[in-house]
Amino acid sequence: MMDLTAQLPGLNLKNPIMPASGCFGFGREYSEFYDLSKLGAIMMKAATGEERLGNKTPRVAETPSGMLNAIGLQNPGVDKIIETEVPFLANYDISLIANIAGSTIKEYEKVASAFNETDKVHALELNISCPNVKEGGIQFGTDPSMAAEVTKVVKKASNLPVYVKLSPNVSDIIAMAKAVEEAGADGLSMINTLTGMQIHLPSKKPIIANKTGGLSGAAIKPVAIRMIYEVKQHVNIPIIGMGGINTADDVLEFLLAGASAVAIGTANFRNPFICTEIIEALPEVLSKYGFQSVQDAVGKGHDIE
C-alpha cells in the first residue's frame, strides 16, 4: 500500500492534501459534501484581531484558467473563531492550521497568542501576503526585514509551529524565504495570489470593487512551481505548496518541486469533492511514476548533485 503520510513540524498528516486558506471557510459547508476526516489537514480562513467586514462586492472575477478575488479578510475575529469554529473542526480527525492576519505587528501578536491558548490548533499559517487589505498585509510580504520581524513576534507569542505564507509579488522570493527561516519560521507556505486586475468593458471599471484582486487557479501554477523549486534549494524548512492544483498529477509536480504537502484552493469552487478525489487518485499517480510514498517524491525534481 502506498504511504501517503507527511510529517511536518506540528503536523502528522495521513495524506498531504489540505484545502487552502480562504477557499474552504471553516469547513462547515464542505462537511455537507464529505467527511472532513478524509483530509490531511485544513487551513482555516484568515483570522484577524477583531471582526472584519471585508471589501465591497464584486469580490471575484473569472480570468483565463484562473480567478481574481478581493474578499478583504472578512472574518468574525479570532475570539469568535476560537469560540465557534475551532470546536466544530476539532470533531474531525485532522490537523488544524490557523491562518493569521493583521494590519499591525500587534494584531498579528494578538491573534497568534489567542490561538496558542486553544489546544486544538496544530500550527499557524502566518499570512503576510494578503494583497487585498489597505494597511499591513502586503508590506510585510514584500520586505524581507519586516517579514522577519513579524515572524519573530509571532514565534514568541505562540508555541505552535509557524508556517509563513509567502507572496509571489516579489522580485526575490529566495530573500524572503531566507529572511523568515532565519527569523525562526518552522515552514513555508507558498504561494499566495499574484496581484491582478480585470476591467469590465461595459462599465469601463475594474470588475473587482477593490480594483485589484489576487489571481489564483491553474494560470499561476508555473509561477508557484518555479518559486517552490527555487526556494527549496535555499532553505531547510519544509514547504506547503499551493497555486493552481487541480489534479493528482499537479500534486506530484509540487512534490517534485520541493513541497512536502500541498493545499488546494480555487479548485474547490468548481468541484467541492476535489480534495477527496485527489486523495483517492494520488496512490496510482505516485506508483505510475515510480514512487513508493509521498515522502519519496519530495524534491525529486531537482538534479541530484
Partner: protein
C-alpha cells in the same frame, strides 16, 4: 441538502433574443428544489461555475427548467449544448421564497429581464394555493419578451418594455400604481430595479432575489455578501439568499 448532480439535457429552445430555455433531467433536484433556489452550473473549460435560477420543476417527469441569457463565454458555451449531453451542477443552492401558510391571498410578482425565471416557478407554486397574483414583467424591448402566456395562466400579467415596443413603455415601476391591490410582492431583476421597487413599495411586505458574482456558491468563500441592516453585518447571497426580505438588506 446541496448535492453535486449530473443532469441530462432533455430539450433546449431559444425563446427570445439570446435567451435559452433548457430542460434538464434530475430526480434529486426536481424532488427537493423550492422556488427561488438556483443551480451552480459547471461549464467545462471555466474556473468558476455559473449561478442560474430554477425556473420550473416537473416532479412527474423529474425535470427542471432553466432560462438563461447568453452574456459571456460561459452561457454561450452552455447554449451550444445539445439534448442528450450532460450538465453538472451543484443544487439546489440557497434558500428560496418563503411559501408558508402566511402568504397573503393577493400578491404581486415583479420580474425584470433575466430575473423573470425564478418567479415562474414561484407563481406556479402559489397558484396551487389559490393565491391571486398580478405579474409585472419588464424587458428591454419586444424581442426580449418571454413567458407572457405562461404567467397569464396564473396571474393578471402586465408586460413592460423600456422602449415601449411591446406592452407598456418604461420601467416596471411605471405600472405599479395602475394595477390592482396586493399585500406582498416578490421581485427579481437588476439591482437598479430592485432599488427602485424597495423604495417605492417600502410600506409593503416584500421579498427580493439578489444577484452577485460568486465563487464557491455554497457559502465558503465570502465572495457574494450583501450588507444587512443589523449593525454592519453581512449575509451570503449564495447560502442565506438569494431571496431576502426587502428590508433585511441594504441595496
Amino acid at each position: 441538502m446541496l448535492k453535486k448532480v449530473d443532469m441530462q439535457i432533455r430539450k433546449t429552445n431559444v425563446i427570445a433574443l439570446d435567451t435559452v430555455e433548457m430542460v434538464l433531467k434530475s430526480t434529486y433536484i426536481s424532488q427537493t428544489a423550492v422556488p427561488g433556489q438556483f443551480l451552480h452550473v459547471n461549464v467545462p473549460g471555466h474556473t468558476l461555475r455559473r449561478p442560474i435560477s430554477i425556473a420550473d420543476v416537473n416532479r412527474e417527469t423529474e425535470t427542471i427548467t432553466i432560462l438563461f441569457k447568453t452574456i459571456g463565454s460561459g452561457t454561450k458555451k452552455l447554449a451550444s449544448y445539445l439534448p442528450g449531453m450532460k450538465v453538472n451542477a451543484l443544487g439546489p443552492c440557497g434558500k428560496g421564497f418563503p411559501i408558508d401558510n402566511e402568504v397573503p391571498s393577493n400578491v404581486l410578482l415583479i420580474g425584470g429581464g433575466i430575473g423573470v425565471p425564478p418567479l415562474y416557478y414561484l407563481g406556479k407554486t402559489l397558484a396551487k394555493k389559490n393565491i391571486n397574483m398580478i405579474s409585472v414583467l419588464g424587458f428591454q424591448t419586444a424581442i426580449n419578451v418571454f413567458y407572457e402566456n405562461a404567467f397569464s395562466q396564473f396571474s393578471d400579467t402586465h408586460i413592460v418594455t423600456n422602449d415601449g415596443t411591446y406592452g407598456e413603455a418604461g420601467f416596471v415601476t411605471a405600472v405599479l400604481d395602475k394595477i390592482g391591490d396586493y399585500d406582498r410582492y416578490y421581485a427579481c431583476g437588476p439591482l437598479p430595479m430592485l432599488q427602485a421597487i424597495t423604495k417605492e413599495l417600502d410600506h409593503k411586505s416584500g421579498y427580493i432575489s439578489l444577484e452577485e458574482r460568486m465563487g464557491c456558491g455554497v457559502g465558503a468563500c465570502f465572495a457574494c455578501v450583501i450588507p444587512t441592516d443589523d449593525h454592519g453585518g453581512y449575509k451570503k447571497i449564495c447560502r442565506d439568499g438569494p431571496v431576502f426580505k426587502a428590508q433585511e438588506v441594504c441595496l
